[in-house]
Amino acid sequence: MRAYRRVCNYATAAIKQEAQYQIPTAARTDKTNPADHDHHDESKFYTIDPKTITSLFQMGGLPKPFTEQTQMFAETALMVRKPALEVIRGLKLADYQKPVIRYLLYGQTGSGKSLSLAHILHYAHNSKFILYHIPYVPIWLKYDRKEVNWSTTKNGLADIPLIAAQWLKHFKHQNEVLLNELNLTTSQDYVWSIRETTPKGTILNELITHGINRAKYACDCMDILLNELKAHCSNNKCKMLVAVDGFNAFFNEKTDLKTEDRVRVTPQQISMVQTGLSAVLSDWNNGAVVMVTSPRAALNTKRESHLPIYLCGRQGFEHIDPFIPVMVPELTTTEFNNMLDYYEEKRWLQKTGGRKELEFLTSRLPAELMARCASL
C-alpha cells in the first residue's frame, strides 16, 4: 500500500475530502416484527428494540464483536437476509402436528449464521415459542477452568454444574414471562435427595429456580426440563424452538475438560451434551429445531470445509438426518452496498470509496467486513 501511495504521489494524510458530502442512508424496513418480513425486505435493516435485546440476548446469543458494535451505534440493526427468511417462512408454514422439522444453518466462518439465528430467535420469541436456546456450544466444552463431576444419576456421564446453572438462568431469563403465562407444571415427582423433592404439579419456573439454586442438580434439571417441555409441546400446551449454535461441537473428538480425578472427557460423556442431543431429536411435535454448524466450533485441526457432513461427521449427520440444510452465503452486491451505506450513515466509515478493495479483501463476508471497517 505504501509503495502504491508513493508512486501515485500522495499520502493518506494529504487526501482532501469534500467537507460536505451527502451522507448515504442505508435502506431500512419499518417492520419491527420479524413475522412480517418478506422478500421485499431482503437486504434491508430492521431495528430490534433494546427491551427485546435484553430479554433475549442478555446472557449470550449475539457474537461479541457485533454486540460491541451495537453499543457503538446505540441500536441493534440486523440485516434481513434470505436464509433467515427461508427458515421463518418454514416455521410459519409448518404443520405442527407432525414431528418437528430440523433446520441446519451452515456456511463459511463469518457469513452471518449466528445473526441469522438471532433473527429467527426474535421471530420465535414474538410468536410465543418457548426458546430452548444454547447460545454457543464450545463455551461449554472449552477452557479447562470448570468444575466437572461425575454424574450421580447417569452412569458414565460427567456434569458441569455451574455452567448448567448458568444456562438455566439464561433459559429462565428468556422465557420467564411466557412460562408464567402458560403456567406449565411438572408431570411427576422428582426426588433430588432425601430432603429435596419436587412434587408433581410444581410450575416449571420453580423447577428451574431449584436448579439454579442447587447447582449440583442443574444438569439433571436441564434434562428434566427438556423432557417436560417436550411432553407439554406434544400435548399441544405450548410451542418450543430448540436453537443450538455451534452444534458440530457436540461431535468433536475431545474437549478441554478434565474431571476431578484428572480424566479427560469427550463431548459425548457430558450429560449436558446428551441433553442437547436429545433436544434435537424429532421425537416430539409442536415445535422446531434450528441448528448452526460452524467451522469455528470445530477443533482447529478440522476446519478445512464448512459443509455439515465434514463438520459433524457421519455420526452427527445421522443423528440429525433428515434435516433441511440452509446455506448462509456471503453478502450479495446489494447487501454489501447496503451494509457499507449503513456504516457510512453511522459515520463509522468517515470516507466513501474503496468499496472494490473492501469487497476483494473481505470476499463480502459480513464479519470480515465488520472487522475491516472497525478500528485497528
Binding site: A3, Y4, V7, K356, E357, F360, S363
Partner: protein
Amino acid sequence: MMLMQRLFPNLVTNKLCSAKILTNFVLRCTYGLNNVGSDDPGVEIPEKKIVEEKTSLAMRAYLQRATQYNSFMDQQIHEYKIGKRHLANMMGVDPETFTQKDIDAAIGYLFPSGLYDPKARPLMRPPSEVFPPKKDAEFDESGRPFHVFFYTGKPNFYSILHNIATKLVELNKFEDSLRKNNILPDADKKLTSFGSQWLSKEDLEKKTVERLSDHEYKHFVVAIERLLNHACAYKLTEFISEYQKPMISTKSIVESSPVLYTKDGRAYVTVKDCPRKDARADVTVYYPGTGKLSINGKGIEFFDYIQAREQILFPLLFTDMIDKVDIEATVSGGGVSGKAGAIRFGISWCLCSFVDPEVVERMRIAGLLQKDYRRRERKKPGQARARRKFTWKKR
C-alpha cells in the same frame, strides 16, 4: 598513440591562430603523452639506446625498475604459457587450440569453488590482465621530464583538466565573436548529458594510469560539466564524448508472457513457478473477468492475515484491474507471506500482458516485476537468532 591522434588534430585545427606559446606547449605535452600507457608491445621504450654513463640517478633507478618489471612479466608470461599447455594436456585437448575460454572452463572444473564472490575463486588469466601496467619513462636520459606537468605528480590527469580549461576559454571567445555579430548560439544544438554518464573514477584512473583521489575526480566532473553546459559546447562534441559513456539502460525489456485463448475466446496468461522465499506459485489470469479469485480452490480466505490479502490486492489495485480479471493460482511451499508474495509476483507478470506499456513501466518502477531475492537468514551459534544476541548478564 591514439590519444595523441585524437587530441592533436583537434587542438591544431582549432588553435592554428592561437598564441605561439600554446602551440609550443601542445607539442611538448603530446610528446610526454606519447609514451603513456602504450599497450602496444611493438612500441619499445628506447632504453637500450641510452648510454649508461650519461644517465641521471632517476633514470638509472627507473631502468632498474623497468628491467625488473619486464623480466618479472616475461617470467609470468612464460609460466602462463606452460601452465596453459599442462592444462590442455590434462583436459586431453590440443594445446595449440586451447583458448582462454577453455582455460576458464577447465579451472572451474578442476577447482570447483563454493566461494560466493567470483573474484575469490581460483583463476588463470594472462599476466597482463592480472598485474597492473606500469608507466613508461617520463623523463629523458638526463633526467629531464618530458611532460610539462610532470611535477604535479599526476601529469596526465592535470593535462586533461588543462585541456578542458583551455577549451572553455576558446568557447568563450567564440561566443563573444558570435554575439558581436548579433548571433545567438543555437539553443537547439545545446548539449545535454541525457543518456550518458561521465567516466567513473576507475575508468578515468585507467585512462590516465594514475591514482586519483575522490576530490580530484570531483574536480574533473565539475570542469567537464561546465564545459558541457556551455552554450557553444556543440563545437566540442567529440572531445566531450571522450569522457562520456552511454548510460546502461535501466529499462530492462519487460517481456510479457504469450497470451493464449480459451475455447470461449477469453484471453489468458499463465506464469509458472513464481518464486518468493520457499514458496512457488503458478498463476493464471483470465481477461476479461469479473474479479473472481481462486487460490488452491479457495477464495481470498485462503489467507487469514490482512497483510497477505493486501499483497494479492496490490498489483490489481495498482493497475485498476480488480474487477476486470479472473485469477487462478496454485501455490505450494513456504509460509504465509512467501505464498502471498509468490502469487503477487505471478499476478503482476500476468497483468503485464493486459495493460499499457506505461503502466508496465510504472509497475516496474514500483517493484512489482522485480524478483525478491531475499532469503531467510541463518541462525548463528552463540546468538539467539540470526542477529539477536543472548541477554547479557554480568555473571
